[in-house]
C-alpha cells in the first residue's frame, strides 16, 4: 500500500509524496507522485499509470482532500506518467493538466479534451498555485522531447521527472538516498539508455547547478537531499548517454 509522506511543510505550503508500493504488480515500474499544496489548491505531479490509480488515489485521499487537487503537472507523455488521467478527470472533470505544448494532440488519447490541457511553451515559465508561483523548468530530451521539471523556490525542491530516476531493488528502496554511490548504480543503466542527448544533459546540469535545491525529487526511486543533489548533478554531467545508439553503431563508442 502506498502512503502519503510529508517532505516539506511551512504553513499552508507543503510537499508530500506518495511513494513506495511493495505490493505493486511486478510488471509495473513503481512511481513517486508528488503533491504540492499551497492555500486551497494542490498540484499533483506525474499522477501515474492507469493500473496504479487505485493505490495512488487511496493513499492521497486517506490524508488529503482530493477535491483540493486542481492541477496536474505531467513532466512528459509517458504512460507511467499520465495514463491515469481519464480516472482523475472522472473524479474531477474540472482538473487542468499542464504538459509540453508538443503533446497537445497526443495526451487526449489518455482522456480529457481541449479544455483539460494547458500547453507549456518550450522555454517553460511560471504557473500559479493557490496564490504563489512555481517554475516550469525545461528539460527537453531528458528523456522525452517535450519534457519539463517543476521547481519550487520557497521549498527549494525540484521535481525532476525521469532525471535522477533509479530502479532500486526492494531492500534499498528508501524514501531518501542513503548512500549515493550504492544508489547511483541503480540509476546508471536507466540514464545511459533513456537520456539521448549529451548536449541536453550538460545544459540541464548547468542550470540545475545554479539553482538552490534541497531536495531533488525524481519520478522513480529515492529522493536526493542535501549534498547528494550536487553529487547527482556532477555524476550526470559526466555520464555517457545514448547507449541505445552505441549498441547499434559500436564505432560511436570511441567518439562519445
Amino acid at each position: 500500500m502506498k502512503r502519503l509522506e510529508t517532505l516539506y511543510s511551512q504553513g499552508s505550503h507543503q510537499w508530500q509524496v506518495i511513494a513506495r508500493d511493495p505490493e505493486r504488480a511486478t510488471a509495473l515500474i513503481d512511481t513517486n507522485e508528488y503533491l504540492v499544496s499551497h492555500g486551497n489548491e494542490a498540484m499533483l505531479t506525474d499522477p501515474g499509470g492507469l493500473e496504479i490509480f487505485p493505490v495512488v488515489f487511496s493513499a492521497l485521499a486517506a490524508g488529503f482532500d482530493p477535491r483540493r487537487v486542481k492541477w496536474i503537472f505531467a513532466s512528459h507523455q509517458d504512460p507511467d506518467v499520465i495514463s491515469s488521467l481519464s480516472l482523475w478527470l472522472e473524479f474531477n472533470p474540472a482538473l487542468r493538466c499542464y504538459a509540453s505544448r508538443i503533446w497537445g494532440s497526443f495526451l487526449p488519447h489518455y482522456g480529457g479534451d481541449g479544455g483539460t490541457f494547458i500547453g507549456l511553451p518550450d522555454e517553460g515559465g511560471k504557473i500559479p498555485l493557490g496564490g504563489i508561483e512555481l517554475d516550469v523548468v525545461p528539460a527537453h530530451y531528458l528523456h522525452s522531447s517535450g519534457n519539463f521539471h517543476l521547481y519550487d523556490a520557497r521549498a527549494r525542491i525540484l521535481f525532476s521527472g525521469d532525471v535522477g530516476a533509479a530502479l532500486t531493488p526492494p531492500e534499498e528502496d528508501a524514501l531518501f538516498v542513503a548512500d549515493f554511490d550504492r544508489h547511483i548504480r541503480h540509476a546508471a543503466g536507466f540514464h545511459r539508455r533513456f537520456m539521448g542527448s549529451k548536449a541536453a544533459v550538460l545544459d540541464w546540469c548547468e542550470r540545475a547547478a545554479a539553482m538552490e535545491i534541497d531536495l531533488l525529487c525524481p519520478q522513480h526511486g529515492s529522493v536526493y537531499q542535501g549534498a547528494d543533489v550536487m553529487r547527482f548533478i556532477n555524476w550526470f554531467a559526466e555520464l555517457e548517454v545514448g547507449s541505445g545508439l552505441r549498441a547499434v553503431r559500436p564505432e560511436l563508442q570511441q567518439a562519445a
Binding site: 490509480f53 493505490v55 488515489f57 487511496s58 485521499a61 486517506a62 488529503f64 482532500d65 472522472e90 473524479f91
Partner: protein, 204 residues
Amino acid sequence: MHSNIEMAARSADLHAIVRIGDGIRGVVDTAREVNLAALNAMLSSRRGGDNAVGFRVASAELREISHRLMDAMQDLTVLVSSMVSEVAQRQRRQRNHDYFQRVEGERARANGNLPDILGRQEGDMARLSALLGQRRRALHLKASRALRLCDQGLTLSRSALVEAAYGGASAPALKQVAEQLAQSIRSVAETLGRVRAELEEAGS
C-alpha cells in the same frame, strides 16, 4: 482485482456483435447474387417465349424480394454500428468502475466521494445496458421480418421451378436458375437464423 476471464466475458459482447455484422454482410452478398440470378432468369425466360411468362413473373418478384432484403440489411447495419459504440462505452464505464472500486480505506473512499462516483458509473452502465437491450430487440425484430421475406422468396423459387417446366427448349436452363435461386435464399435464411440465435443468446 480485475481478471482476464472477466475481461474476456465483457469482450464476448463485442465478439457477438462482430459475428452479427459478418452475418449481415453475408446476407447482403447473397441477396445481391439472388438479384443477379433473378435478373438472368428473367432474361432467359424471354427466350422461353410466352410459355415462360409464369417463370418471368416469379423471377421479377424474387428480384423485388432481394431488394427488400438488402434494404433490411442496411437498417441492421446501422443498428449494429450503434451497438458497437454503446458496448465500447459500457466497457469503458465498467473499466473505470473497477478502478474506483479498488480504492481502499474508509477515509479515502469518503474523501473521494466514492459512493457518488460508483453510483454514477453504475447508473450509466445500467442505462447503456437498457439501450443495448432495446437495440438487440429491434435487431431481432428486423431479422425476423427478413426471415419472413426469405420464406416468401422460397415459395416464389418453388413456383419458378414449377413454371420452368413450361419453358420449352429453355426448360433445363430455367430449372437450373430456379434451383440456384432457391439455394441462395436458403443460405440467406440460414445466416439470418444464426444472427437471430446469436441475438437471443446475447439477450439471455
